[in-house]
Amino acid sequence: MTAIASSINAFRGVASSVPDATRPVETAAQSRLEVASKKIEVEKLHAFFGTAEVLKGIDLPIYSTKVTAIIGPSGCGKSTFVRCINRMHEVTRNARTTGRVLLDGRDIYARNVDAVTVRRRVGMVFQKPNPFPTMNIRDNVLAGLRLNGLSTRDGETIVEQSLSRVALWDEVKDNLGRSGASLSGGQQQRLCIARCLALEPEVILMDEPCSALDPIATARVEALINELRERYTIVIVTHNMQQAARVADFTAFFYMGELVEHDQTKVIFTRPGNQRTEDYITGRFG
């Protein structure tokens, strides 16, 4: 981190750490890291499917231009958690939430906030690469703009920029008219990330983005995450703990709908503070 950037972050940190008695207890990471600014603050977030409560009061800060990994066993609510951050959770039938998710200090669940607008600022990459099969590569990149009825006058520039940013441009520049489905799994996933980037989001949520990819494709996506972190705030859900250890600055461990521990990744993977975290990451689980 350059001196200028760190001083800016320090300034932001001061601005956002005004004492507030109603604040929930700070997580370990917060107390260790007062200098980074918070892009998102999740407060007392509960999520439900019908009557089943899948998130039981999560308080978690997500730091700006950092990678936060969410780990935990299947069914711990980690996917639901990220889907709450861009209001995708409510798309499912009978799904609802309570609590607040502050994006740059504003609650995305406030009455006058449109979920569609939130999703443009908080992009999402899914477990299974899902390019639109009826569109070619170029149109897939521009899909977010086109489907939203936005102008694609700079289409060619946007396509080249977005594909370059995911290191796919050189591989597909001569075949932009080909179907997105003709690409390999890893390329498809990078195409989906490019599609997300074309909308210029501020936050990128990734829900197990590599679980359908081979190790080489996984390494490429991880390298990409490493580059994207300079401009974007990233939250990645992963089953692969080594992946969290490799790419994340912060790691949060979820268990049965609760946040067990949140700290810097280097702390979580060398000396976690909680026995359940320890048991999970060392493979001593039930």
Partner: protein, 231 residues
């Protein structure tokens, strides 16, 4: 350790690794015990027997290193497992050096075999006993994952250092001009240095055990900032 690994093979690998470290620790303890007894009794045969054992300790070091390497490569251990592996890797070096030093003591014993122990040598024996205790406690702390016990080992290092500092003037007092006296003093001085180093290695082991158990790095306190910083 609260619970076992879900993967029983992994659990066994770690268990076996721990066993090898314990065996190596036991061997080194035996070597030191033999060396100190040989020194006190000027028993050259015992000394030679101790020197013989050093090969076995060296072999254990190689084996343990290999096992650690395999676990690192194939299991990607994290948290307490990772701390255990790194601790094993480091204390194995300390144990191997301790074995070498015990062998060195024995070599000096063989040199000294014609010269009966003298009254003024007694502080060396006492240093030896303290260092031996430190080593035993350090290894015991490793086996039992007992951080307080390991911390007590570290606290005793200073007394050995002090005793070693006093050894030199004492030896100087009892050194006359003849060759024999000179040889003896030189050998005794070396034995004292070896013991002092053994205490240092025991201290290192203690520090690693504290790290292994609590996850806290207690070495070189002055080098670390009070708060961890982000990147």
């Amino acid at each position: 350790m609260a619970s076992l690994h879900t993967d029983q093979k992994y659990e066994k690998e770690l268990q076996r690794l721990r066993d090898r470290v314990v065996i190596m620790g036991g061997s080194v303890e035996d070597m030191l015990d033999g060396a100190l007894r040989a020194f006190a009794a000027r028993d050259a045969d015992l000394a030679r027997a101790v020197i013989e054992r050093d090969r076995g300790v060296d072999q254990l070091e190689i084996e343990i290193d290999e096992r650690c390497l395999q676990v690192l490569a194939r299991r990607q251990p994290v948290a307490s497992d990772l701390r255990f592996i790194t601790t094993a890797l480091k204390i194995v070096t300390d144990l191997e050096r301790t074995g070498d030093l015990a062998a060195n003591i024995c070599k000096r014993v063989i040199e000294l075999k014609q010269l009966a122990p003298a009254e003024f040598e007694l502080p060396i024996g006492r240093m030896g006993a303290v260092a031996q205790g430190m080593l035993r406690n350090a290894i015991g702390a490793f086996i039992k994952r007992d951080a307080p016990r390991a911390a007590r080992v570290m606290a005793r290092d200073e007394s050995v250092d002090d005793a070693y500092a006093e050894l030199f003037p004492t030896l100087l007092q009892h050194t006359s001009g003849d060759q024999e006296s000179l040889t003896r003093s030189q050998a005794l001085q070396s034995v004292g240095r070896y013991i002092e180093r053994i205490a240092d290695h025991a201290t290192n082991i203690g520090e690693m055990v504290v790290f292994m158990v609590d996850g806290e790095d207690v070495r070189h306190a002055s080098l670390r900032p009070d708060n961890a910083t982000a990147h």
